[in-house]
């Protein structure tokens, strides 16, 4: 699957949770949404992109993947 498309989708999710004032809750919200709605292979590609340092991931997605990577893997 096209990593660029998945990154766009993840960034969109982060944009919604960005209005959450508590950054811990925002990060958890992004991770929880991806865990609950994304097929595992999509999640794996996203994690691979984060590991590879893809700079198009917005910081909130990076944080969510960093803090909740185990759940998403």
């Amino acid at each position: 699957m096209d990593p660029k498309r998945l990154i766009e989708m993840a960034n969109q999710i982060a944009a919604f949770y960005a209005s959450e004032p508590d950054p811990v809750a925002a990060s958890a919200g992004v991770a929880d949404h991806i865990a609950r709605f994304w097929d595992p292979r999509m999640r794996r590609i996203l994690l691979e992109q984060a590991s590879a340092g893809n700079e198009t991931l917005v910081p909130l997605v990076e944080r969510a993947l960093r803090e909740h990577g185990q759940r998403l893997g």
Partner: protein, 949 residues
């Protein structure tokens, strides 16, 4: 009229206790205040003769056939317009009354053709019945001037108007006004000269008539009559079933002669429609026997090969072996399925069960993905249940209706009629829509506010509405304190009160005048009962889910939840899209909206189904397509959907379909998706099977087999055959057994059964021990999730914005006479109202581009180009263009992009940046499509003509 309809009590029932006591023909009667004498008599079993009266309409008092005598009152009052009074003594059959009625009837018959034996209404005519009832034996008037030779108007494709048989009772005129709310008919002139006419003096076809059939149903003679009855004769038996078009889910009576369907008549007892219907459900059912129906299974190795008709056994065996081959070669997760929102609950349940058991994956999705998936998500997050909160009747208690991104007169016409009735009674309407839809200004209805927002700015608008409510002290503090989460409300209140959400601050974004927005907010927030109704103009955006949450926030903050007249009401598109979602069609949810990661739920299904179920979500439709293009998804079973036409970015969709090694399509026609298929399994129409549909108000209604399946099997049977061929046993004998399984495994359906549906007619879920007869209004005492939850809904501009290259915004929608991809309605006479999709464009935008009405114009986006003819219309605002997508060659979705809702991947159909220009020829895509379509038709035709495969 309907030969087989229930007894008609003459005038509408009145609410209230039966406190008025009177006697009719010496019989003591007790009835509600405001009841007519006619109805009171009928309730006591006394049928007073009548012609102009029907319980579907308010009394009119014109025919004078229902006269009675009342002790102490002078003359002969009409029983339909005379209301009951305490102590009244009514005589319905006196010699004087009888003579008067005979004289009245004699006058009617003196100007009526005496051709009863050859009349299309013979045996189904109230005039004929009443002539007998009053004992008319002769007509003493000499022949003279009459109407009996007036020519008939046969312009409408579904019914004739024969003025020679008209008794000018005005039932048709009143039905058009009171029931339908269109006011297209009128009674011209007076006395002998009076006649019924379509407004404007035109024939029916070219008038404002919307062909709902209310006038035909109301007509007591053959003056307005279905052409099928004229052709075939009066029906002899009736089966009550449910319409297979929009999410209103009208109850219809299929009336037959032998095994031939003669007509569909709206069911007066229908909980969703109360005896009304629209041009689709009432008349556009001929597709079910259209010559394009495919009734033999077919297979082929490649989409460039001719189709080969095979036995059911071979087709199913081939499909099963291909699916297993793909799983062996590419992994279990390389295949999936799509359930149909046009099929029954039982059928969608079975498809998702097939995918989760025989396929062993959660790769199942449904067309709600591309329409109301944000509704399911947004309402679940805020209120705890993925469904609308009210029944349709609730609108009759609304004082203010906020209509957002919906066009009910086209998309949900029977609900629109009820809404218009309430608006005529004085309720106020706010329309938030980029277009000036009909409800903005239509006979006897004028919106208090039209908020013509720019496409893509819904969230800014709803935030501004809530901002006004919060900052002007219009919050229902008691409701919020008692019913909602305090923390989430406090956080939301602070968020929404920020000046950046004020109408003035967002005016630049939305294009809506701040004063109008403030006025609308105050109107909504201060109403006794304010209700929100919305459609795909809310959901099909990159912030579709956010907007649904914003709507829920607004309704909860103003206390407009949990009683009749209020609520959050998604107007769902397809007949069973609610049901398809309820039945576990989403890749992350089991039936009843329970996440696959929920171990308790999963264990219940695993025990019942005898398999283990993955706790991980599967692929959604757009993910399946992306995975197919990437090479990791190889096989797909599609029941009754047409993603090649309906899903966005046609180039991407067809590329994905072409990359599949096995596409199995089950449908009644070789639809656009089936042109890319390797296995075609003939489907059954809604007339050919038993089951249930669930409409937008959560109403589960029975679908009953009217004729045998043309291909030999109902759709649920085909799915069962496939499951068995894959080695997973399914042995249901009847859909009732499937519903029993659903009820056992799904708490919200625990009290549903075919037996109960037969008894009660329909049931609104939740239906269980606590609510054994269903739940018309949800969240009455508490939200399903306990406390209502406010969520922060920051407005974010879509990435799809107008640019110098693509300066206009395209939005898409539907039209009354057509239904979604048009597979059904294009195969009916409805095409006479809509022969092509056109591009609506504002006169200023048209003039800038040298475009005149009717010109061919290209519509180009970053995704593709198509060409349509232009309709120059002031319904559009400058900068916005609009089209429908009912014809495949139109290529509306060639232009739309893969942009989607952040939470659900629901496509952003409602916003595509485009440029429009005058052209002389079709687009390259359209030329390619025409070639491909011709090629696929030839590959099918060869088989159908018996040519070698």
């Amino acid at each position: 009229m309907s030969l087989l309809q229930a007894r008609d009590l003459g005038t509408p029932a009145r609410a209230g206790e039966a406190t008025v006591e009177l006697t009719i023909d010496g019989i003591p009667v007790r009835t509600a205040p405001g009841t007519s004498v006619m109805r009171a008599a009928a309730e006591a079993g006394i049928a007073i003769p009548k012609l102009c009266a029907t319980e579907q309409l308010e009394a009119f008092g014109s025919c004078r056939l229902c006269v009675v005598q009342i002790a102490g009152k002078r003359g002969f009052p009409a029983s339909c317009t005379t209301l009951v009074e305490p102590g009244m003594e009514v005589s319905t059959e006196t010699p004087a009354v009888a003579e008067l009625r005979r004289n009245v009837m004699e006058l009617y018959i003196s100007d009526h053709p005496l051709d009863c034996l050859t009349c299309s209404a013979n045996g189904d005519c109230e005039l004929q019945d009443m002539a007998g009832r009053v004992g008319l034996r002769e007509v003493r008037y000499a022949e003279g001037e009459s109407h009996v030779h007036e020519p008939a108007d046969r312009s409408n494709p579904y019914f004739d108007f024969d003025p020679s048989k008209c008794i000018v009772c005005s039932r048709c005129v009143r039905a058009c006004g009171e029931i339908q709310g269109t006011f297209a008919l009128t009674s011209t002139e007076r006395g002998f000269g009076s006649r019924i006419a379509a407004a404007g003096g035109e024939d029916f076809m070219h008038s404002e008539c919307v062909s709902c059939g209310a006038c035909v149903a109301a007509c007591p003679t053959a003056s307005l009559m279905e052409k099928t009855v004229v052709e075939l004769g009066t029906p002899q038996r009736s089966i009550t079933t449910t319409c297979a078009y929009c999410g209103v889910g009208c109850s219809l009576k299929a009336e037959l002669q032998g095994d031939t369907l003669v007509r569909m008549v709206p069911d007066a007892d229908g909980g969703a429609n109360h005896g009304h219907a629209c041009v689709k459900g009432r008349f556009a059912w001929g597709y079910a026997t259209h010559g394009d129906r495919i009734t033999k299974p077919m297979i082929r190795n490649s989409i460039r090969d001719p189709w080969r008709e095979v036995s059911w056994e071979e087709a199913i065996g081939h499909a099963a072996s291909e699916l297993r081959r793909l799983q062996h070669a590419y992994g279990a997760e390389s295949i999936g399925g799509i359930t149909s929102s046009r099929c029954t609950n039982e059928e969608t349940y079975l498809v998702q069960k097939l995918v989760r058991t025989a396929f062993g994956v959660n790769n199942v999705d449904t067309c709600a993905r591309v329409c109301h998936s944000p509704t399911g998500y947004g309402l679940k997050q805020t209120m705890g249940e993925s469904a609308g909160t009210q029944d349709f009747d609730s609108v009759l208690d609304a004082d203010v209706v906020l209509l957002i991104g919906a066009n009910p007169t086209d998309g949900h016409p029977v609900f629109a009629s009820r809404l218009k009735r309430r608006l005529r009674e004085g309720a106020k309407l706010i329309v938030a829509d980029p277009r000036a839809i009909d409800l903005v200004d239509t006979p006897y209805v004028r919106a208090a506010y039209h908020l013509p927002l720019r496409p893509g700015t819904n969230v800014a608008l709803v935030n501004a509405l809530a901002h006004v409510a919060v900052t002007e002290g219009l919050i229902d503090e008691d409701f919020v304190a008692a019913r909602c989460e305090g923390d989430s409300f406090d956080k939301w209140r602070e968020f929404i009160a920020d000046p950046r959400h004020s109408p003035e601050a967002v005016a630049e974004i939305t294009g809506v005048a701040p004063a109008d927005l403030r006025g609308a907010a105050r109107l909504y927030a201060t109403a006794r009962n304010a209700a929100i109704y919305y459609g795909l103009g809310v959901t099909e955006h990159s912030q579709g889910s956010t907007m649904v949450m914003g709507i829920a926030n607004l309704a909860m903050a103003t206390g407009n939840i949990g009683r009749p007249g209020v609520g959050v009401n998604p107007l769902r598109g397809q007949n069973n899209v609610q049901g398809a979602c309820d039945m576990g069609s989403f890749p992350h949810e089991l039936p009843g909206y329970r996440h696959v990661s929920d171990a308790v739920t999963r264990a219940a299904f695993e025990a019942a189904w005898g398999v283990s179920i993955s706790p991980e979500p599967g692929l959604r439709i757009p993910n399946m397509l992306d995975a197919a293009v990437a090479g990791g998804f190889k096989g797909l079973y599609v029941q009754g959907e047409d993603i090649a036409q309906s899903d966005p970015n046609t180039h991407h969709v067809t590329a994905a379909l072409e990359s599949l090694e096995c596409l199995i399509v089950q449908d009644i026609f070789l639809n656009e998706t089936a042109k890319y298929a390797h296995v075609f399994l003939p489907g059954s129409s809604f007339l050919e099977k038993d089951g249930t549909f669930t409409n937008a108000e959560r109403r589960i209604s029975p679908v009953r087999k009217v004729v045998e399946p043309l291909a030999g099997y109902a759709d649920w049977e085909v799915t069962q055959l496939l499951a068995n061929a894959l080695g997973y046993p399914m042995h249901y004998g009847h859909p009732a057994e499937i519903m029993d399984e659903i009820a056992r495994l799904t708490p919200t359906f625990a009290g549903v059964s075919f037996d109960k549906l037969d008894r009660l007619g329909s049931l609104q879920w939740p239906c269980n021990d606590e609510q054994p007869e269903g739940t018309p209004t949800m969240h009455v005492d508490a939200f399903v999730r306990g406390k209502g939850r406010f969520l922060l809904t920051e407005y974010l501009a879509t990435d799809e914005r107008s640019t110098r290259r693509f300066p206009l915004l395209l939005t898409t929608g539907r039209i009354l006479s057509q239904y979604n991809v048009g597979a059904q309605t294009r195969r009916t006479a409805n095409i006479r109202w809509h022969e092509e999709d056109r591009l609506e464009i504002h006169p200023a935008d048209a003039e800038d581009r040298g475009i005149r009405h009717g010109d061919a114009v290209s519509i180009e986006s970053r995704a593709g180009v198509t060409v349509l003819r232009a309709t120059v219309s002031e319904r559009m605002q400058p900068g916005v263009v609009y089209t429908t997508f009912h014809w495949p060659a139109s290529g509306a979705n060639v232009v739309t992009t893969e942009n989607s809702d952040w939470a659900t991947n629901c496509p952003e159909y409602k916003v595509t940046a485009v440029q429009v220009a005058r052209v002389e020829s079709p687009s390259a895509w359209q030329r390619d499509y025409a070639r491909f379509d011709a090629e696929q038709t030839a590959l099918l035709a060869g088989e159908r003509d018996g040519a070698p495969g």
